[in-house]
């Protein structure tokens, strides 16, 4: 893989993409191998891998739920959708559950603005939930197979912290 990129250091991001595609994430042994193959300092490789949001340094969760917080989705109630998801998964945005079953992620525009708000559940796009009717939103989320609401630790403030990293 590294040879295909001419073993050149500027191919680092391309190589990381391919490693992640194969392994699902970028493990430290894999990063070490990439650094050796491209003859780059370890810290440089780690610095790049940790800079970009799409590179995962941990194994991916079993189920991934990404809520779009783009502006069009925001205007159409993505904040309320995010609150619903956080409550159900007991997770903050960009957090993975301790048992590795669920990850809640934010994305900043999926380009499906016409169907806003949208979320992606295990790679499948779901569009236009009834974000302004709490009850209907709840049944919509249940229909997607999301777990029922769990008790939130006090630290996860709702709803003021939506959109706050």
């Amino acid at each position: 893989m590294i040879r295909r990129h001419g073993g050149q250091s500027h191919g680092l991001i391309e190589v990381l993409h391919q490693v992640q595609e194969l392994d699902g994430f970028l493990s430290k042994p894999a990063l070490l191998q990439v650094a050796r193959g491209l003859r780059l300092p370890l810290s440089r490789v780690y610095g790049v891998a940790s800079f970009y949001h799409l590179f995962r340094l941990q194994p991916p969760a079993e189920h991934r739920c990404a809520v779009c917080l783009g502006t069009a989705c925001f205007v159409r109630g993505a904040g309320r959708l995010a609150v619903g998801l956080r409550r159900r998964l007991g997770l903050d945005l960009d957090q993975t559950s301790g048992d590795g079953r669920w990850a809640l992620e934010r994305v900043s525009c999926l380009g499906a603005c016409g169907q806003a708000p949208v979320l992606v559940l295990d790679g499948v796009l779901f569009t236009a939930p009834p974000a302004d009717q709490p009850q209907e939103l709840d049944s919509w989320l249940t229909a997607l197979g999301l777990p029922a609401a769990v008790a939130l630790p006090a630290a996860v403030g709702l709803p003021a912290a939506v959109g706050t990293p």
Binding site: S9, H10, G11, L12, I13, E14, L16, H17, R44, G47, V48, F51, Y52, H53, L54, F55, L69, G70, T71, A72, C73, F74, V75, R76, G79, R106, V107, S108, C109, L110, G111, A112, C113, G114, Q115, A116, V118, L125, T127, A160, G163, T164, P165
Partner: protein
């Protein structure tokens, strides 16, 4: 272009771009193709008629780029003897009925067909009628995965002509005369940028296309990449010839998988046809283009950060000057233009710089593509002459608020732009007018905000975005945006004191003036513009001292 002149043999054009795909274009296209190939299910008389029909009367079902009205997707256009008819939101079950109609084999007239009732869209409505497609002239017509179609519609003709007839200086003169300004946000004169690169001391040069369209609510460039990638490649090749580059990169954000796939295919096809590579179109001009895929970093839309990312580094910006036009990729002069800018080049060469300059307004020439979304009836893509009023775009073309309420504000320029209140909707859309209102053109995202949304929340939404996307290199952006977000939390929760508002404004001014790159410098704009036009919503809590 959506509406085509009447044609004898019918064809169906199904939008295969991301927006419609997310609305179910995939299954619909498959159903249309199946129906076209197999006859009309459940209509024995039609099937009988089909088997006796002349050979070659088969209906062509084509996958094309964006048909504009994304909010009504999936979209299908039927071009026939009566001209073009557009259908939106058709489920796969409706495919058979549409195919039967298109073949002229349906037992009932179009108006009476229940499966199509309510799916017909009016092509005479202002949303379509007021468009002026230049950049998007092939988008929705050509199949983006077939270079033959692009060529049949005039693709690469200007590249061939330029290589045979014009010197690089003559090409640059046309671009200068066109008055084209960078469509990525800054509005820097494109001709001047090309000249700067071309006139550097002899040596290697690079051309880079910035396809890292990151503003939330902006999907213009994606539509070009997905709908007519050859137009971009032609523009890039002409640019490379004009500045003397023989190597280039298209930097696309990883969030656009379909665009990446189609761009890679287009590059392969262009190489195969001798339109890229060594000795292009029989000339002595060589150009190698590569696709580089981002990895999720908004800041990489900033020129110097983008260059670092292409070089396999952290996407952090650096201080300018030197500008990339002087010292860019690996220190060589580098031309960076965004997708829409480069895609405008072929039409400028075809019609001449003066022709292009006659469109638009005084200081902003030509057309601009906008993506309309948010609290608006018609979500989608519009290309209009510069200088068109916001009201025309939002209320007349976009149809205003979907529930019939009044538009509250329009957000332009993404996280770097601002909110323009409804009272100022008569403002013409051009670089200077938007800047004067504390917003900016940006790349072309237009998000309409309805009465139900509080403006401090909008400001906080963008600040959260900037906090999340700050690269962390310089302190005003890294730490300043965090503090601004905390202050905006107080505003949203109606806990802000007069001192908080004072601190908010002072910090906004500091972050704007002292941040290293455009991301940080523009991060306060959504706050400043909402403070300017909607100050009452920030209302300080009297007496609540710190």
């Amino acid at each position: 272009m959506v509406a085509l002149p009447p044609r004898e043999r019918s064809q169906l054009r199904c939008c295969g771009a991301s927006g419609c795909r997310s609305a179910g274009a995939g299954p619909l296209l498959a159903a249309l193709r199946a129906a076209a190939a197999a006859g009309v299910a459940g209509e024995p008389s039609a099937i009988a008629a089909l088997t006796t029909a002349e050979p070659g009367s088969g209906l062509e079902v084509r996958s094309v780029g964006c048909l504009r009205l994304c909010g009504q997707g999936p979209l299908v256009a039927w071009d026939g003897p009566e001209g073009t008819r557009l259908f939106g939101g058709l489920p796969p079950e409706g495919a058979a009925a549409l195919v039967a109609q298109a073949r002229g084999l349906a037992p009932i007239p179009l108006q009476a067909e229940p499966a199509l009732a309510g799916h017909r869209l009016d092509l005479e409505q202002p949303f379509f009628r007021l468009q002026r497609p230049l950049v998007l002239e092939g988008c929705g017509i050509v199949d983006p995965e077939r270079i033959e179609e692009a060529i049949a519609h005039g693709g690469y003709a200007q590249l061939r002509r330029v290589l045979q007839e014009l010197s690089p200086e003559q090409v640059r003169e046309q671009v200068r005369r066109s008055g084209l300004r960078g469509r990525g946000g800054g509005g820097y004169p494109t001709g001047l940028k090309w000249d700067t690169v071309a006139l550097q001391p002899p040596g290697r040069r690079y051309v880079v296309c910035n396809a890292d369209e990151g503003d939330p609510g902006a999907f213009m460039d994606r539509s070009v990449l997905e709908g007519d990638p050859h137009r971009l490649l032609e523009g890039m090749a002409i640019a490379a010839y004009a500045v003397g580059a023989d190597h280039g990169y298209v930097y696309v954000r990883a969030e656009y998988p379909l665009a990446i796939e189609r761009l890679r295919l287009a590059l392969q096809q262009a190489r195969h046809q001798g339109l890229l590579g060594q000795g292009i179109a029989g000339s002595s001009f060589n150009l190698e283009l590569e696709v580089r895929v981002g990895a999720g970093a908004y800041v990489c839309g900033e020129e110097t950060a983008l260059l670092h990312s292409i070089q396999g580094q952290r996407g952090t910006p650096r201080s300018r000057p030197p500008y990339p036009a002087q010292a860019g990729l690996w220190g060589a002069p580098t031309l960076i233009n965004n997708v829409e800018t480069l895609a405008a080049v072929p039409v400028i060469l075809r019609q001449g710089g003066d022709w292009y300059a006659a469109i638009g307004s005084d200081k902003s020439r030509g057309t601009k593509v906008f993506s309309l979304s948010g609290a608006i009836r018609h979500t989608g893509l519009v290309e209009v002459p510069m200088g068109t009023s916001l009201r025309t775009v939002v209320e007349i073309m976009g149809g205003g608020d979907p529930d019939g309420g009044a538009v509250k504000a329009v957000q332009t320029g993404g996280p770097s732009g601002g909110c323009i209140p409804a009272a100022l909707l008569d403002t013409p859309v051009d670089f200077e007018s938007l800047l004067a209102l504390g917003s900016m053109m940006g790349s072309g995202g237009m998000v309409v905000i309805g009465q139900g949304t509080a403006m401090p929340e909008v400001a906080r939404h963008f600040m959260a975005f900037s906090v999340n996307e700050s690269c962390g290199k310089c302190v005003p952006c890294r730490a300043g945006t965090v503090q601004l977000l905390a202050l905006l939390d107080r505003c949203v929760e109606r806990r802000a004191t007069a001192a908080d508002l004072e601190a908010l404004e002072a910090l906004c001014a500091m972050v704007k003036a002292t941040s290293l790159c455009g991301l940080g410098q523009a991060a306060p704009n959504p706050v400043l513009s909402t403070l300017r036009h909607f100050r009452q919503e920030y209302g300080a809590v009297p007496g609540a001292g710190p």
